[in-house]
Symmetry: C2
Subunit: 253 residues, 2 copies
DNA sequence: CAGTTTCGTTAACGCCGTTAACCGTAAACG
DNA sequence: CGTTTACGGTTAACGGCGTTAACGAAACTG
């Protein structure tokens, strides 16, 4: 059985490989604290900068490409970490994933900024679409859904929602794995958005350093923010266990 | 009576004026969507770029200078807007200020990013210090304090706080007008930090566009986030009035 | 084999931050 | 008052950036 993922002609495989190398070299550059520039990436690949224009239309597209792959790779790491808890314990998995997400953001602020603070121009539909397929977003939505299946935490019905929000949860533009959520349960996505907003907010605050460094080091702001969301997700009974899991994960990273 | 603010020699006055022009030209550039570059600022002032090095040590310092002044100017606008409510109604003032803060962030995302998403390097103590005197931070802390004077909402005592957080509230590195807060009431600052984190988070999410545009347009995410903080600030009774004030302000902007 | 597409090159343009060397003039000083 | 100093500007230059244009070789295609 031949490869499914690397089919087609030799040229196409070559091209795939070049894309992979671009991403690899880019992440390497970022890791070293260097800027993500076309020239730097090219020269480290043994090419000249204009050659990269065969693969990317401009600098911003390079950034978007790398951001997408960084998100994918980072998500894979906390999916892996979360998998030490079983399938049927999505709350524990969420606790692990949130903690890992934060630790990644603190350890790699430049990469975090690239993926999550990279300003998206209003009219730029292409970049919007890319955002919609964000890997981490899908993972978090899925966990929230799985938690709801167990705790049946309350969520607003479609009628209760502001009409604009109703549209948004019925046909989401955000990264959310929502196809399998029945129409009448789409109010769940509102809870998801609000929870994501809280997580994003505190992690961005800490990652960009607009915060007392001691508060960051203690992890208390993050912890308190997460703790506030256990109730709304129907996890109040599990509170101590989940916070313990999170603390453990924070201490490790 | 001679000027108090423009004393000293003629040279010093001249220098002050040049700084003012730098800031003015910079904000003008940002307003036009251009980048904030030394060369652009200099040429628009009728100078050459190296001349600016007589006023700022490097590009980052120019950015910091402009960020600080932008924060000051923006804060002044919502202080002004909030002053349509009397002194003794700090809750209403806070509602106005939060809404204005968000509208400013949405209308001027580049400026917002400069002031509030401008990553602060860990070891950079100079920039930390600059952060500590942020104007908007002082205004918000002061409002929270004034609200507490009226509602006496609960806050953690010093013993209840994590030791690190205790240090942080006793000797804050964040922009907070805290000198007049008695030592035993410093737990208030923890509430302030948490509330600021929530406000910062949702506004950053919206301003950077990492969010469904329809959700931003509706303002519901922001509204819900603020609404969640009325309780902890002892403003539950005032809920409808305050949300109405905020809605009005959001609609205007 | 001929023709075309793909993928790389070099050269160049106009930005950028930053440094070094230089100079007139306004202020400070003996 | 004349001298000296330091301030606030200049020009020239370096290296790096994104980006475009013109071009060529090698690989696929008929």
């Amino acid at each position: 059985m031949p490869q499914l993922r690397a089919p087609a002609t030799r040229r196409e495989r070559q091209r795939e490989a070049t894309y992979d190398e671009i991403v690899q070299v880019s992440t390497q550059l970022l890791e070293e604290g260097a800027d993500l520039s076309l020239r730097a990436v090219a020269s480290r690949m043994g090419m000249t900068a204009p050659a990269l224009y065969r693969y990317v239309a401009n600098h911003q597209q390079l950034v978007d490409l790398v951001a997408f792959e960084l998100d994918k790779a980072a998500t894979a790491t906390w999916v892996e970490a979360a998998s030490r808890f079983p399938d049927d314990d999505p709350a524990a998995r969420l606790a692990v994933a949130c903690a890992r997400f934060r630790q990644w953001a603190l350890l790699h602020p430049r990469q975090f900024a690239l993926v999550f603070a990279n300003p998206t121009a209003e009219a730029d539909t292409e970049r919007r679409e890319l955002l919609t397929v964000s890997t981490s977003g899908h993972y978090f939505t899925d966990l929230v859904w799985q938690i709801w299946e167990r705790t049946r935490f309350p969520y607003p019905s479609l009628d209760e929602l502001d009409p604009v929000i109703r549209d948004a949860v019925l046909n989401p533009l955000i990264p959310a794995k929502s196809d399998h959520i029945p129409r009448d349960d789409r109010g769940l996505l509102w809870i998801y958005m609000r929870a994501w907003s809280a997580l994003y907010g505190v992690v961005t605050l800490e990652s960009t350093g607009h915060c007392d460094p001691r508060v960051i080091a203690s992890g208390q702001l993050f912890r308190a923010t997460i703790a506030d969301w256990l109730g709304p997700l129907g996890l109040a009974d599990d509170r101590e266990r989940l916070l313990a899991i999170m603390d453990e994960e924070l201490a490790a990273g």
